[in-house]
Symmetry: C2
Subunit: 344 residues, 2 copies
């Protein structure tokens, strides 16, 4: 430490008796400097407690060493698993990952993205409140690598990585139909969330294809995809007289399903005998629920990892082409829908 100020390359150079350039070389191309001087410089660094100033490095070099992920909802473990996948890919590329959380608020999201642009991050991964937002198109147009995660972006302007949500809705409801259910609730909302729209749409599709009467697929809207909303939907469901009550529910995500499960069990319904439940995402807590939850699995980490790879390709490969990756979801059957499921 040099009189309070944190030491700079200049201080290191002086203390080691070499020039600025040499110190820089020690950090960036150690092979060109002779072992003896390198040794001397490294000792000086250690002695002074030198820490390279990343701002200055980045300013001059013009390239940053961070990726960023703006997640939609920090209370949903799903997004943390995605983030974990991104983190692993970032680690491989020797990059740092900057995680932000918009909490489903569009204006907060934009503040975060703005800050990230100012930081000149290498690329932005984002699960946006609204993938059609004009400002997103704008930054992509400028050449900042942007990858939409868990949604598909508008008009091929960006890469995106998502699961086929329509298909997910289909397999969930198909599974219920296979178990003999002919009156099914579809729980989810608000419609402004694209994932919800598509999952519901998939449910309707297969229902029609199976030739079941549209009125027996009952939509139970919710205000958000949270445990609390799931509980509230559960109340409404349990309140329906037994003869007219759906015998199964497909929830737009696992948080809803968990809330619904808790509430309906509390109300005395047996799961799955009186009410079968399917969730979506297959978060870790789904398997850990007291009645393990059947769910539509998204390859969460894989989603994140693939997104990171796309953003890196866009950042480094001059003839990168935007692509929309779609993963195939998979049903994981557990005790909440089948009386004796295959082993966990």
């Amino acid at each position: 430490m040099v009189n309070g100020r944190t030491p700079s390359v200049k201080d290191v150079a002086r203390s080691a008796g070499v020039s600025l350039g040499t110190v820089s070389n020690v950090m960036n191309r150690p092979e060109v400097v002779s072992p003896a001087t390198r040794e001397r410089v490294e000792r000086a660094m250690a002695e002074l407690g030198f820490v390279r100033n990343e701002s200055a490095r980045q300013l001059r070099a013009g390239t940053s060493r961070t990726l960023a992920y703006v997640m939609l909802d920090g209370t949903n473990p799903f997004f943390h698993d995605v983030a974990q996948g991104i983190e692993l890919a970032a680690e491989d590329a020797d990059l740092s990952l900057f995680i932000c959380n918009s909490n489903s608020r569009a204006e907060r999201e934009e503040v975060h993205v703005d800050r990230l642009m100012q930081q000149r991050v290498q690329g932005i991964l984002i699960t946006p409140v609204n993938p059609e937002a004009a400002y997103l198109a704008e930054i992509a147009r400028r050449g900042i690598p942007v990858v939409i995660v868990d949604r598909v972006g508008a008009g091929g302007l960006f890469c995106s990585v998502a699961v086929d949500d329509v298909l997910g809705g289909r397999i969930a409801v198909e599974h219920l139909a296979e178990q003999g259910h002919t009156r099914v609730a579809v729980v989810g909302g608000p419609e402004s969330i694209g994932q919800v729209r598509e999952r519901v749409q998939g449910a309707r599709q297969i229902w029609a294809e199976l030739g079941l009467p549209p009125d027996d697929l009952i939509h139970l809207p919710t205000a958000a995809l949270t445990v609390a909303e799931g509980r509230s939907a559960g109340e409404r469901l349990a309140g329906i007289p037994a003869r007219r009550r759906p015998t199964a529910a497909f929830c737009a995500n696992d948080l809803l399903a968990l809330g619904l499960l808790q509430q309906t069990i509390g109300a005395g319904l047996r799961v799955p005998e009186e009410l079968a439940i399917v969730g979506f995402d297959d978060i870790e807590f789904a398997a850990a629920a007291a009645v393990p939850l059947t769910s539509v699995r998204q390859p969460r980490q894989e989603l994140g990892r693939a997104a990171a790879q796309l953003v890196l390709d866009e950042a480094t490969n001059p003839d990168h082409e935007h692509q929309q990756l779609t993963f195939v979801p998979e049903l994981v059957a557990r005790a909440s829908t089948v009386v004796r499921p295959r082993a966990y």
Copy 2:
């Protein structure tokens, strides 16, 4: 956009017909520049799509606008709630929050912290793998504001914010004793985690004070604080013949408790009649479990917010003094310990 390059203040200045300094003034002290020029400059910025380069700003100004939180375990929702509290405080102070995740690996933690130092963040909040780690003391010694979250740091070198874990262990076991339990399992590990040691210690303390025989407080070690480990502990517990089996379990965190709950219910034990369960942290999923979980609540968001305030104080207040804040945990009784708990 100026021929591919992203535009700089210089470009804005030229386009608006003013000097560099004026553009800077528009951004940093708008009150000194006349409305007419300000207007002109702002228009030029919008036209060119100018985005301030934060690296250059920070290099020159010497101050960054970010706080960072290095969390211990991204799979535990507890830490995300803490992060949320930090985020709110950061938002108030108009700072960005950089969230990293060490996943309980000491070397990854150190890489993260190193990067953060290079970025010259205003302060580092951290739930460290080991609060006694030498490198932490080292950076604190250099004057970087560091706050330990959910642990207390060594030798008053840093501020810290934590809950009284010993007390938490006491009230958990006291509650079980009040319900008449006289043979109790304490589930948790590894001992290398400070939180575990102290919670277990609290349990032993009160057990002794209540005059109960030490052998009837049975320690069930686990390799980590995860749902999977909770399940495995549950297997062992369920395997004990009913006459000698503990009638209650205190788990070192909610993840363990949730796994234990699931496993033991699956094995046919009734909760709480045959096995009462208490967790620790009171994460959101605790209340949402099919048998809502009694837990020792930590004020999670409050913890984060307080930590952020401490770090900001250290960063800005010249006569800051380190303090160790301790919050008092609180028992939240739910159905996993009492047959008819007070309203949820």
